[in-house]
């Protein structure tokens, strides 16, 4: 009885561990290391990536850049900041595009290219897997 219980628990633990490895990799929001912005809140990041604001921390202009559709980092980022699954995000941008209110952020091919663009341009803001962070960029929000 006792043994069964502990086996069950440990299986549960392994499964949970695997799941969290797959699904719970931390995503971080980054700006250039040269950017003076220190930290952002989830709501601010959500508004920036949904095109609802283009200024942060008073009056600093920001331009969001995105990963390609279908990337797991992207799906996780939007779910954690905006609460939207990929199809909801697509629905959101459909209503913006077809009412002339704007276009979604430009997409960049991969994390290396995205990081380089952000490092070189203090106006840009993006997000990457926490493991890909290096000194050229600054983390302004960690999404767990």
């Amino acid at each position: 009885m006792h043994i069964m219980k502990s086996i069950k628990l440990s299986i549960l633990g392994i499964v949970a561990g695997c799941l969290s490895n797959i699904a719970m990799a931390d995503v971080v929001v980054i700006v250039s290391a040269k950017n003076k912005v220190a930290a952002l809140r989830v709501q601010e990041v959500s508004d920036i990536f949904l095109g609802k604001t283009s200024n942060i921390a008073g009056n600093v202009e920001v331009i969001p850049i995105d990963h390609l559709e279908g990337e797991s980092t992207r799906d996780e980022f939007y779910l954690k900041t905006t609460g939207k699954a990929p199809s909801q995000l697509k629905a959101y941008w459909s209503k913006r595009i077809f009412t002339g209110k704007g276009q979604p952020p430009k997409e960049v091919l991969d994390t290396i290219a995205l990081k380089k663009m952000i490092a070189d341009n203090t106006k840009l803001i993006g997000y990457i897997d926490k493991n890909a962070v290096d000194p050229s960029v600054k983390v302004v929000l960690t999404l767990q």
């Binding site: 209503k95 595009i97 009412t99």
Partner: protein
């Protein structure tokens, strides 16, 4: 039927893939191309009237066809030109069943936008008035959960696109975002032959819309003021009334929709944290004519279980002005005119005029399934109760139609964006 539907579907999908592939070439250029479409089939239980989605359509499901693909089907394409950071232009063309029962392409949006700052912009050209919460994208069915927005509210103002100027100003207070939009415009639409043709138009439409967003919540206020004129052959009745002295002239002036003030006010609110949503709207319009004073509202909620979004809508429309009028006082008339006057009184109180104010409520149950990337499939069942002798939002009434009946409508739509 199902084979035909499938081949139409395949044809449309092939078309969007071809266009989609072309769009990639535009990516870094001034121009970008986007499109959307819906393939729909609707069935109505009422054989003596048509169910459809707007008064600008000449027929629909029920009487004209048992199963109609005209109610919701459409395809739209949009070219956006971003000339520089400030200046952009949009051209959107839609193909759908029009007032004349053809599928002639029509320009839905065509405007030039200048952004003084990202928070202050001016647009000039053809614009869709955001009368209700989703008016300006109601044709992009992929963008919302329902098969179509509730007819009770969304057919209450006979406006579609307008030509004019639009100023939008957005400001932030903490995490609250407020967007104010003022539009000065005019419109002219042709009416379907099913009501005898004619047109509805307004020269000076002033509108003010204000949206306040905070996180997943938003509240919207709308106000429209216009002097509008509607003409169709049935309205010559009012010329006849004018021949009957002061009483007739008073009746004509009260109900003839000629250069009449139409005031519309609305409030809407939505909360959508992602896993579920709740949304509602309350609208009132006073058209100072036979079109009447109307009030309508709806509430809707849905839950998102991965790719499935079941939802319900409850909607209600009621008349706030009289849907009947005693008309000319027959006893005061010379005997030879009584017959004519009685017929005119009858016409005034007919389904073409005063009885055309919808009094109905609908319970809708439906579900959206996000089949694959950029494609969704929805089914919806509407149960409508007509009240007060009204035929509700139905069109094309046939002899023998029973007022105060129940109408059951089943719809399926396949939506896509590309």
């Amino acid at each position: 039927m199902s084979y035909q539907f499938r081949s139409i579907m395949l044809g449309a999908l092939t078309l969007c893939m071809t266009i989609g592939a072309r769009a990639d070439a535009f990516d870094q250029s001034v121009f970008s191309f986007n499109g959307f479409g819906t393939l729909g089939l609707t069935h109505s239980s009422e054989p003596l009237a048509d169910f459809t989605s707007t008064f600008f359509k000449p027929n629909g499901a029920g009487y004209t066809r048992k199963w109609s693909s005209d109610v919701d089907s459409r395809i739209g394409g949009q070219v956006t030109a971003n000339f520089n950071k400030q200046l952009s232009a949009v051209l959107q063309v839609i193909v759908e069943q029009r007032f004349d029962n053809t599928y002639t392409p029509a320009v839905e949006w065509a405007n030039i936008k200048y952004e003084f700052t990202p928070d202050l912009s001016v647009r000039f050209g053809r614009i869709l008035l955001p009368i209700f919460q989703i008016s300006d994208y109601r044709k992009v069915s992929y963008a919302y959960a329902w098969v179509r927005p509730p007819n009770e509210v969304y057919t209450m103002v006979p406006f579609a696109n307008n030509d004019g100027i639009d100023v939008t100003y957005r400001f932030h207070v903490g995490d609250v975002i407020n967007t104010t939009q003022g539009i000065y415009s005019r419109f002219h639409y042709s009416l379907p032959k099913s009501i005898g043709g004619g047109s509805t138009s307004a020269e000076n439409v002033s509108s003010l819309f204000n949206t306040t967003e905070y996180g997943h919540a938003s509240v919207r206020l709308a106000y429209i003021n216009s002097k509008f004129t509607t003409t169709f052959p049935g309205l010559t009745l009012f010329d006849a009334f004018r021949q009957f002295g002061p009483e007739g002239i008073a009746i004509a002036n009260k109900y003839d929709p000629f250069n009449k003030l139409m005031i519309y006010t609305g409030i809407g609110a939505t909360y959508d944290p992602g896993k579920w949503f709740v949304t509602g709207e309350l609208s009132q319009t006073n058209a100072h004519s036979f079109i009447g004073k109307k009030q309508a509202w709806y509430i809707s909620s849905g839950f998102r279980f991965d790719k499935f979004t079941p939802y319900f809508i409850y909607a209600k429309a009621k008349a706030k002005s009289e849907t009947s009028d005693p008309g000319l006082t027959l006893s005061a008339l010379p005997p030879e005119l009584v017959g004519t006057a009685a017929a005119m009184n009858g016409a005034l109180n007919s389904t073409a005029l005063l009885k055309s104010i919808p009094v109905q409520n609908t319970i809708s149950l439906g579900a959206r399934w996000d089949v694959m990337k950029d494609v969704s499939l929805k089914v919806q069942y509407d149960y409508t109760t007509l009240r007060n002798g009204s035929f509700g939002t139905l069109i094309n009434l046939q002899p023998g139609f029973q007022p105060d009946s129940k109408v059951k409508v089943v719809s399926a739509v396949l939506d896509f964006v590309f």
